[in-house]
Amino acid sequence: MAFDADEEILQDFLVEAGEILEKLSEQLVDLERNPDDSDLLNAIFRGFHTVKGGAGFLQLDALVNCCHSAENVFDTLRNQKRRVDSELMDVVLETLDHVNAMFDQVRNRDELIPAPDELIRALDGFARPASEDTADPDEAVSEDSDDTPFQDSESDDQGDITDEEFERLLDALQDGRQQNAPAATAAIGEGSAAADDLAVASSDNDDITDDEFEALLDNLHGKGQFSGAVDAEPKASKPKAADTGSPASAGSSASGSDELISDDEFENLLDELHGKGKSPTVAATGRDQTPADKTPNDKTPKKPAAKPSAKPATTGNAAHSPSADNPAPTPAVPARDGAAPVAETTVRVDTKRLDDIMNMVGELVLVRNRLQRLGSNSEDEHMQKAVSNLDVVTTDLQAAVMQTRMQPIKKVFGRFPRVVRDLARSLKKEINLVMQGEDTDLDKNLVEALSDPLVHLVRNSVDHGIEPPDVREKAGKPRVGLVKLSAEQEGDHILLVIEDDGAGMDPDKLRQKAVEKGLYEQDAADRLSKNDCYNLIFAAGFSTKDQISDVSGRGVGMDVVKTKIGQLNGMISVESELGKGSRIVIKVPLTLAIMPTLMIMLGDQSFALPLVNVVEIFHLDLSKKNIVDGRECIVVRDKVFPLFHIKRWLIKGAANAPQPKNGHVVIVAMGTKRVGFVVDQLIGQEEVVIKPLGRALLGTPGMAGATITGDGRIALIIDVPSLLQHYG
């Protein structure tokens, strides 16, 4: 492929057209639901059109072809020559896939692989009005096409609107005396036939050439002239076209022999129109020609064919170089001040740069924390003032930088209508996808990282959750299943919920499966609570589908999803009710770079517990704990939590330390599981910047990273799930 075009422009195109493509995929799925939405049809048409236009400049021919055919389909659709059906949608969606593939190829500097010919042919087929599929001619088209001898399927193949538009044009030209088309055609027998011929001749070849255009302008404005007053133009040309009767038919019959009009033929046609049309024009001028007198005057009756060459002769030569070649410098200067130029208000920035800024802001936050601590110890009032100022500014800066990295979750959600549609179609299910809170913003990295897990969960809901329509009907549910996807911000977290009204999960089945897979002994499985059972779906290698479908059911997914969410410092939990549906809740922090934590002390070492995991803190008389199944437990508000002395795990030499009588307990949650950690001291809430562990410590179980605390010491950030997995 030729990439000699400006590299920057190519990049711009990829980004901007990429956005259009994303939107297209959403709009296309929407369209299937609202096939008659003309705004939507127009928007989709414009989408393909715009991509095509840009691709044309970048010489991405395969892309141009593909988009062109798709655009034609939507042109037909938006002109109501065909209705949307699922076969058409399949083809169009497949086209979009190819277009997306080509985008990737452009991005990777690969040779473009053109869309398969069958696909283009299928598109071209759909671009034809539906009337042609069914031999039953569409009234709108047939009305006048019947009496035009030269019209065949070829002409309305690509130019359906031409006839109508041209008709309208002619109507306008006929100057009110014969205002409506049927009357006009009926009244002037030969004339109308000729007008039709003209229409045919010109519509057969939809494209206009430069010469034709020049001739047209000559027609409208007089040879080589331009009059700004538009209202004069139609009137001026009216008599010509309307009275073309006999001469035109001669010209067009010549052109009628083959469907396409050549430049010469068109010129001839114009000649005839003008030459012989002159006499009726005179009669007409008296009536309706007030503002545009110069049009017929300037026009010599017989040689419109000479117009293109005549133009430069009149004034062109003189005007040529000064006006067009380099007129820029002189008037430019004064013109500038006059207007308030709307400069581009956006700048594209590499996300790498944003990451760097975020990192530096992180460092700044650390320094601020440190200064705050120092400031609070100092008696100096000025110092304290400056520190609190710094605090405000840093907080604002942090928020502002985070804002630049925010993207609406729509970027991920936008994929789902398509995913659900394709899946539902292949599984023969009927599903309605409802999305809420698509405008919720979250960190760009998170948006990307959440994409795959969410797709997996949605596919699961469609595949495992929603029952086939018949089953649903038998169960007294509506045939159409509902999958609801919502996002909302809750404090410094984002809550993502995937809900379906499908079959729900059966805890007993899950227990049985767990035993079969050897994950639990029978009696241990029987003791699992409902919620524990639901969480089994996150266990590696766990799938309740007996039959593996190509959609899901390989049991590799859910544990990957859970790990992924865990990596994002997020949490995932499942609720389900048999026969009613399931609900999966994901909670992730707004940003990955800065994490609110609860600082705790174990011995004299500080640790940071991610605040996401912290549920509550209380003081406990440790003598009140119970021992169940050989494990320490506490009962809080009638709920039992296992109790862990993490000091024994994390502090050297503390493993066999005597138990304190009193202790602080932090209840932490992972998914639906909640446990209590006994800690020595609670320091408080602190925002920390996560620093990766050095090479020596990398991979230490239970540690997510390290950070520098306000008092300048290093604190390890605890990764609760991995800590429990390793020690618990």
Partner: protein
Amino acid sequence: MKILIVDDFSTMRRIIKNLLRDLGFTNTDEADDGNTALPMLRSGKYDFLVTDWNMPGMSGIDLLKEVRADDALKTLPVLMVTAEAKRDQIVAAAQAGVNGYVVKPFTAAVLKEKIEKIFERIQ
């Protein structure tokens, strides 16, 4: 010469802007559709308008009609950028008062020729 480029696709605006720059027209502004272009035209003293046809909001042809209906703007030369040289479209545009059209994709040379033609006619 001060030129306003109207297109909803910013990449396209940049392409046209670069082509115009190659031709020596450096004083260009951009608008993303007819609705934003009109106020700019009315206050901006532009000498030339290059507009795309197919845009959301106000399309190129509607913009053209507005321009021609405005006493202050009715002589403003307008070059229409279209994807195809569809005859009916061009005829309609011509009747609405367009001065020239150019079919995407085009080169700087083609653009130059189109602009020259327009100014020949106006002179």
